[in-house]
């Protein structure tokens, strides 16, 4: 017990989980950066994305596992992403946009409503029974010096890294990314500079939702797909966004990975009972909010009159 191999084993597990949290956290943080509002329905958009991905994958994968299966897997993922992106934009249009100048409480309540609508409609349409995503390839763990890594974990890590790098490049280098940063800094001034802020907000929702769908589809490799899968996962990812510093892209990535590691090590090494695993995130949230409310990488914000 407590050997180096075991440590690396938990580290790998935590990293995979953390990568998924990070992808979800990015959606929260991007929306918060621009609208200063928590999209409570984000976790449920993730759930819808993984269902759609699963349906597409089941429809096109065929019987035997071959080289096409992996292609089908990615196509299904893209399908789920596209669907979620559209869903995110529509939700923003209907439920959040009319409330942009309302009190702070209004969009929050509306978002809780949307979250409830999505998760319960899914249970209604697709049943509460959880579904399993068919494996796109053989998942025999690869054992390397006592550390076993499943091919799924490798796939998850690769996708997560690609997504993160492309998002970072998109935000830092592209014209739209620049407009997004400007909008998040000061929406009114950005508008005066000719940035169509409504369009930027829609794009932000689309990207965030697509990332959530990716995360949900990857998560489906490790756990099953069910209507309430987004709730707890979404909440934890939100905690990750806050830990990293909400509104900060790198912060969300860091926070997600830290939270994944914390959960894995908390159960495996600190001996926190498995039943209380879900509490770790919330304790982390309360501690970070007390000690460093702006998060690890966030800037402290002073409320102005």
């Amino acid at each position: 017990m407590g050997s180096i191999a075991e440590f690396f084993q938990h580290f790998m597990n935590g990293l995979t989980l953390g990568g998924i949290y990070a992808l979800i956290a990015l959606g929260y943080t991007m929306v918060y950066g621009i609208l200063k509002f928590i999209n409570f329905a984000h976790g449920d958009i993730l759930m819808v994305g993984s269902y759609i991905g699963l349906f597409i994958f089941d429809a096109i994968r065929g019987e035997s596992i071959g080289p096409f299966t992996l292609l089908a897997f990615f196509l299904a993922m893209l399908g789920g992403m596209a669907f979620s992106a559209a869903l995110g934009v529509i939700i923003e249009r209907i439920a959040y946009k009319p409330l942009r100048n309302a009190t702070r409480l209004a969009p929050l309540l509306s978002a809780i409503g949307v979250s409830f609508i999505l998760s319960n409609s899914a249970a209604w349409m697709w049943g509460t029974k959880s579904r399993k995503l068919a494996y796109p390839f053989d998942n025999t763990p690869i054992v390397f010096k006592g550390v076993s890594i499943t091919p799924h974990q490798i796939l998850i890590l690769i996708v997560v890294v690609i997504m993160m790098i492309s998002l970072k490049l998109f935000i830092d280098r592209s014209r739209i990314g620049k407009a997004m940063r400007a909008t998040s800094l000061d929406r009114d001034t950005a508008k005066l500079m000719g940035i169509e802020s409504d369009k930027i907000i829609a794009i932000t929702f689309a990207i965030g939702s697509a990332l959530a769908a990716t995360a949900g589809f990857l998560l489906a490799l490790e756990i099953k797909v069910y209507p309430s899968m987004g709730t707890m996962t979404g909440l934890k990812a939100f905690v990750a966004a806050v830990v990293g510093g909400i509104g900060n892209i790198s912060g969300a990535m860091l926070g997600g990975i830290l939270l994944g590691l914390l959960e894995t090590f908390g159960v495996a090494i600190l001996g926190i009972p498995y039943g209380l695993k879900d509490t770790i995130a919330f304790v982390a949230l309360i501690i970070i909010l007390l000690v460093k409310p702006e998060g690890l990488l966030g800037k402290a914000e002073k409320e102005k009159v």
């Binding site: 928590i38 409503g113 909010l289 409310p293």
Partner: protein, 299 residues
Amino acid sequence: MFNFVLLIFIYTGIYALMAVGQNLITGYVGLLSLTQAGFFAIGSYATAILSVTYGWNFWLTLPIAALIAGAFGFLIGLPTLRLKGDYLAIATLGFGEIVRNILNNWDSLTNGPMGIQRIPMVSIFGFRVSPYDKWGFLLLVWIFVFLAYLFYERIAKSRMGRALEAIREDEIAATSMGINTTRYKVWAFVFGAAIAGVAGSLQAVFILSVTPSVFTFMVSIMVLCMVVLGGMGNFKAVILGAFIIQFISYFPQLTGLSNVIPPQFKQVLFGVILVVMMIWRPQGILGRQQRGRLEKGEK
């Protein structure tokens, strides 16, 4: 059938108590707390454990339940109320989940997922108020609702109520007027939690058993819907809201359509209510209680 209507009114009463507490927190102070289910659970378990394990009388456990729930309100409020609105929502939601998690796992105290059964019935001056006697229990619950209404209405009209409204309208201005905002917010939280504890205690002696699975996030959402639908900042309105929401939630059983209407339907409807009310009628059905001040015009 008629018994079923009485049952709806009993549940309306129990939830109205929680809604009154939520109204103080959300309607008056403008804080989005999502943890009424947690305080509800604490109240229920306090009564269940004290009366089953230690053999206490219900009337002794009731104030203890309110006190413990209030104390947790204080404990959770003190750190989290320094946070801005949105963080508070998540932190309180997290707290509700933690409570349920602990109830599920602390086997020696709460008997885990099995819960606690055989809670003794309430008796008052030698009369037993059995949950099977719907009229008696209805009366008991609504006496509590009436008392809570008077008490919370009193708070809202007092110096504290005015301070809470000032905090909601503009926290910085309130601070500069010398209002200790954190103290008032924590008090609102304590009162809001305590009454949910009372509701939990009543629920325990109505169902005569407690299990963790009852106290889900769904309960907090229902209570929130009641406040939003009735009208934030109006105690009569939230009691009306409680009735409407309970009526909706038992509608399939009431009309014998539970085979036709799927159980998710009401939840979807609750979601729709939240969204629609926010967009078209954020003040709720009855609206806020006016006290002759100008309504806030601009953002």
